[in-house]
């Protein structure tokens, strides 16, 4: 190479922008960029001009004004005297709650269904195929509405629990009430000394980790297989129950009870949250099942056969050999399914769940009439949530990637 003289450096001429392939694509990219900017500027200018003509202005002052409406699920304290800004925050948290819960359950449903779709059992395989096709091919809004309307019609109204001979009864020693308005669970009451019980609980979790590490070390160093499941379970429960008894039950439970029109006390999980959560999980679960199936099929059959030749049982082959390798294929499409759950959660208003779209993009928008401001803010919020999910999942993806050395 060094023996060759450098080619003569051609001086730049203007015509080269079109005729020279090295510059031509740059030229067209530049023209396209200018066109895009001009179009955006035209649309923006038009909007501003028309707003001014109609005597409207873009202002976010309304976020500080009193909201005046109530919200049924409040993760942070809120009443109708608070501002529209706080109402939007409540909505944002509600969106995050349902998105978070949805992602977890959709993943569980999806992985189970995806693995079972490849089961050698004909019936299981066909049932899972049926599930995937049914749920994947009907719009999620329809599922939300179907599940919600089944729930409000099938579950008993609180009224059914009333009277001497109620037609409905609570579950689990009168501690859980399932109604068509939601599920009422007992709430822990933290009395004095409960910190100690929590401390014991955390200590036993650490204990379980240490025990498992010890068990693995024994296995690797001395080839002794120590059972871990039952000791772990015992470690988890026995110390806490002992502490609870010794300290005189510092953590007590507040049970929901029928008072007036509704159950009061305890923790309420709204029916709308359950319907939305369930519908989103089961719908997205069907997509994730397909991703999982694709991931498993992508792992070469030789891996399974080799593992089987080593004498591993089918469950262990799946957990120890196939799934870890399949994860590399599964995670990237999984990210977009998580984003779908978050975005689809904006259908919440169909069942009256007050998410971000219901508060900021719904009542606030209508009461203040600030449509453009609200929608822009709404887009910003969803964008931030989605980008954060992608960011976190990409970090996870990078740790799972094949490490090349």
């Amino acid at each position: 190479m060094t023996t060759l003289a450098d080619p003569h450096k051609e001086s730049f001429r203007l015509s080269m922008l079109l005729n020279d392939t090295r510059y031509r694509s740059l030229t067209f990219q530049f023209i396209a960029l200018v066109a895009i900017i001009a179009t955006m500027a035209f649309i923006g200018g038009n909007l501003v001009r028309n707003l001014a003509e109609a005597g409207l202005n873009i202002s976010y002052d309304f976020l500080g004004a009193q909201a005046g409406y109530d919200i049924n699920q409040r993760p942070i304290s809120y009443d109708s005297q608070d501002t529209h800004g706080r109402a939007a925050m409540v909505g944002l948290l509600n969106t995050l709650i349902v998105a978070f819960l949805g992602c977890i359950t959709a993943t569980i449903i999806g992985v189970v269904a995806g693995v079972l779709r490849l089961s050698p059992n004909w019936l299981v395989r066909k049932i899972m195929a049926f599930y995937v096709e049914i749920f994947r091919n009907v719009p999620v809004l329809i599922w939300i509405l179907i599940i919600f309307s089944i729930m409000i019609n099938a579950a008993p109204a609180p009224n059914a629990f009333r009277g001497d001979e109620p037609t409905a009864s609570m579950w689990l020693f009168d501690s859980i009430a399932v109604t068509n308005r939601g599920v009422y669970l007992p709430k822990p009451i933290w009395g004095s000394g409960s910190l100690l019980v929590v401390g014991v609980f955390i200590a036993s979790i650490i204990g379980i980790f240490l025990f498992r590490r010890y068990a693995r070390k024994q296995l690797f160093d001395h080839g002794r297989l120590i059972p871990t499941f039952w000791p772990s379970l015992a470690l988890l429960f026995i110390p806490v129950i002992l502490a609870q008894l010794v300290l005189g039950t510092p953590i007590s439970l507040e049970y929901p009870a029928l008072k007036g029109f509704n159950f009061r006390g305890g923790i309420t999980i709204l029916g709308s949250l359950i319907a939305l959560w369930f519908a989103l999980s089961i719908y997205t679960g069907a997509f994730i099942a397909e991703n999982v199936r694709a991931g498993i099929l992508a792992v070469s059959k030789g891996q399974t056969e080799a593992a089987a030749a080593l004498g591993l049982r089918p469950g262990r082959i799946m957990n120890l050999v196939v799934l870890p390798q399949a994860l590399r294929v599964i995670i990237p499409p999984l990210i977009s399914q998580y984003l779908n759950i978050t975005k689809n959660s904006s259908l919440a208003i169909a069942v009256g769940y007050m998410d971000l779209t219901g508060t900021l993009g719904g009542i606030t928008l209508l009461q203040t009439g600030r449509a453009i401001e609200s929608v822009l803010l709404l887009m910003l919020f969803y964008l931030i949530i989605s980008l954060s999910i992608s960011f976190i999942m990409n970090i996870y993806n990078n740790t799972m990637k094949l490490q090349e050395r």
Partner: protein, 338 residues
Amino acid sequence: MKKSVFLGALTVAGIIAGGASAATLDEVKARGKLNCGVTTGVPGFAEPDASGVWQGFDVAVCRAVAAAVLGDGNAVEFVPTTGKTRFTALASGEIDLLARNTTWTFSRDVDLKFEFIGVNYYDGQGFMVPKELGVASAKDLDGATVCIQTGTTTELNLADFFRANSISYEPVPIETGAEAVQQYIAGACDVYTTDASALAAQRANFEDPSAHVLLPEIISKEPLGPLVRHGDNEWADISRWTLNALIAAEELGVTSVNLEELSAGTENPEINRLLGTEGELGSMLGLDAGWAKAALGVAGNYGEIFEQNIGAATPIGLARGLNAQWTDGGLIYSPPFR
């Protein structure tokens, strides 16, 4: 996100279109049809009948305006709108007139840039509960679950009412009246609240209307009226005076029965001015002299429209109450035709 982008696009498109339209009257005439926004279906107020023809109290206002402008009460394109979409539809110019049980409030008039052309029904927010609950007053509703139609003034009134009486409630926001009724019937909420007229209308459609009671409390003022966009005063005048013509006709005793007879000329100069045999009222509006006669020709005067759609003889069974003529102790009152 999909939905919000769509809404955003709709708003932007709406505002672009909104700026462009100025002379609504010319547009309606050129189109040969009036685009009128109504509800998605409230019995008695606006609902398509068995043959798909829109009928109702609000529909009658649309038809009257169409008749006054185009001479034909059927030259109306009815656009069903929800509580959420109605204002965007009007602001964007998709509809020329919104007659959809809309409460006249300060912020809608001033901040949202609309022009209420009058009140065709004086309403108030009420509560409906199943009779078996044994509730006699709205103040007994402490802790109740309440179904509300979202995006309306009702949810603000509700919050105010419960706060003022320091009692608590669980709101269940719902998009349309039909869904709210579904949940109420299933017992997913104890109470359904909206304008008392709509409660009566929806109760009429229940399997057993007598199993549900309306509580005596009316917790708000809800003057319902048709509205148009700000900025086109001629069009607002036409709509306003068409409504006034319906009201004045009842006061003056002009009915669908004697309309032809009276429009030949009478001793009463106000009737003559109204029906166009005297004076220039029609041309002042930019319409024919017979505009009010055409409007009255569709379904008669205000009282007739009321009785026909929501009056005591209909399944809705609303009494005139506040909506009687001022001469009968009500609030319905038209400025003079002079």
